[in-house]
């Protein structure tokens, strides 16, 4: 069957059409991207302004039409960080529903990290052993790790590249003191999340030691395989 995913992200609204069957790998058939930059259209109170909502509605309508044109049977519409954290998320979702018929599902940060981890696990396979996933999006950073398809830990932090740029790096080129302040903020956020709850902390000191070069015979053993899925890779 031909499936569509409509991803309302912090940078783009992306319709991905795939030919998908149970047991087969999904084959991309069509991809349509609109640069909406929702994360940057937030007003000072953290709401998506009227202009942003209008553009979102129009973009979703276009995407639904494109999906129909391509013969998509079912569209899976979801939204991530930008809508999730908008103070007027309920109003935005209601307007999209009323004007396009699309019921956007807002993924929690944890769901987002889990689903991305599932994709990385299916891509690299079981032989990759322990996976450590970082996904740097426009609005959030997802971190997940584990041996299985369901990660042992799945966390989302508000450290997306678009969000941070808008909040911390107002000039071009950036002011060195702003860069330093952002560097400190990023590291403090990550350290605070993992430093305070040792039970869920990854075995940081053992990652490098457990990694082995692929030529060594020991590489067949499960090893930690850090995986980065960046916002620009897709």
């Amino acid at each position: 069957m031909r499936l569509g995913v409509l991803d309302v992200g912090s940078n783009t609204v992306h319709l991905l059409v795939v030919d998908a069957h149970p047991g087969a790998r999904p084959l991309p058939a069509h991809s349509h991207k609109a640069d909406l930059r929702l994360a940057q259209l937030l007003d000072p109170a953290g709401a998506i302004g009227p202009d942003g909502v209008d553009r979102l509605v129009a973009t979703v309508r276009d995407a639904v039409e494109a999906a129909e044109d391509k013969g998509v049977e079912e569209v899976l519409p979801f939204a991530t960080s930008a809508v999730r954290e908008a103070t007027n998320a309920d109003d935005v979702l209601a307007r999209v529903r009323e004007e396009t018929g699309v019921d956007l599902k807002v993924l929690s940060g944890e769901e987002e990290a889990k689903l991305t981890f599932l994709a990385a696990r299916r891509w690299f396979g079981w032989s990759a052993g322990k996976l450590f996933l970082l996904d740097i999006g426009g609005g959030s950073l997802e971190v997940a790790y584990g041996m299985d398809e369901e990660p042992d830990c799945a966390v989302s932090l508000p450290l997306g590249a678009g969000r941070l740029t808008a909040a911390w790096l107002p000039t071009d080129p950036p002011d060195p003191s702003d860069v330093k302040a952002l560097r400190r903020h990023v590291r403090a956020q990550i350290a605070a999340r993992w430093g305070s709850s040792p039970a869920s902390a990854p075995p940081t000191t053992s990652w490098p030691r457990r990694r082995r070069s692929s030529s060594s015979p020991a590489s067949r053993e499960p090893h930690a395989r850090p995986t980065v899925s960046t916002y620009s890779a897709n």
């Binding site: 995913v5 992306h14 047991g23 991305t116 981890f117 990385a120 891509w123 560097r183 990854p202």
Partner: protein, 67 residues
């Protein structure tokens, strides 16, 4: 990183693999990648072509009745 931090958005857009739309966010993204790698003790990474959208599709397919 110091080199990247000194560049303008326009200059970053000239780098291989950097799109115009994302050039402005490149430095912040790099600071996050570097910070996470340092703090988690990760020395190298592999880029995964699949991410959230594929995860949503895979999860949906898992719940379809088999053939």
């Amino acid at each position: 990183m110091p080199q990247l931090a000194a560049m303008t958005t326009r200059e970053r857009a000239e780098l291989p693999g950097v799109s115009e739309g994302r050039a402005g966010q490149l430095l912040a993204g790099a600071l996050v990648a570097e910070g996470a790698m340092d703090l988690f003790g990760i020395e190298s990474v592999e880029i995964c072509p699949w991410a959230l959208r594929e995860g949503v599709i895979l999860r949906r397919l898992d719940h379809l009745p088999g053939v």
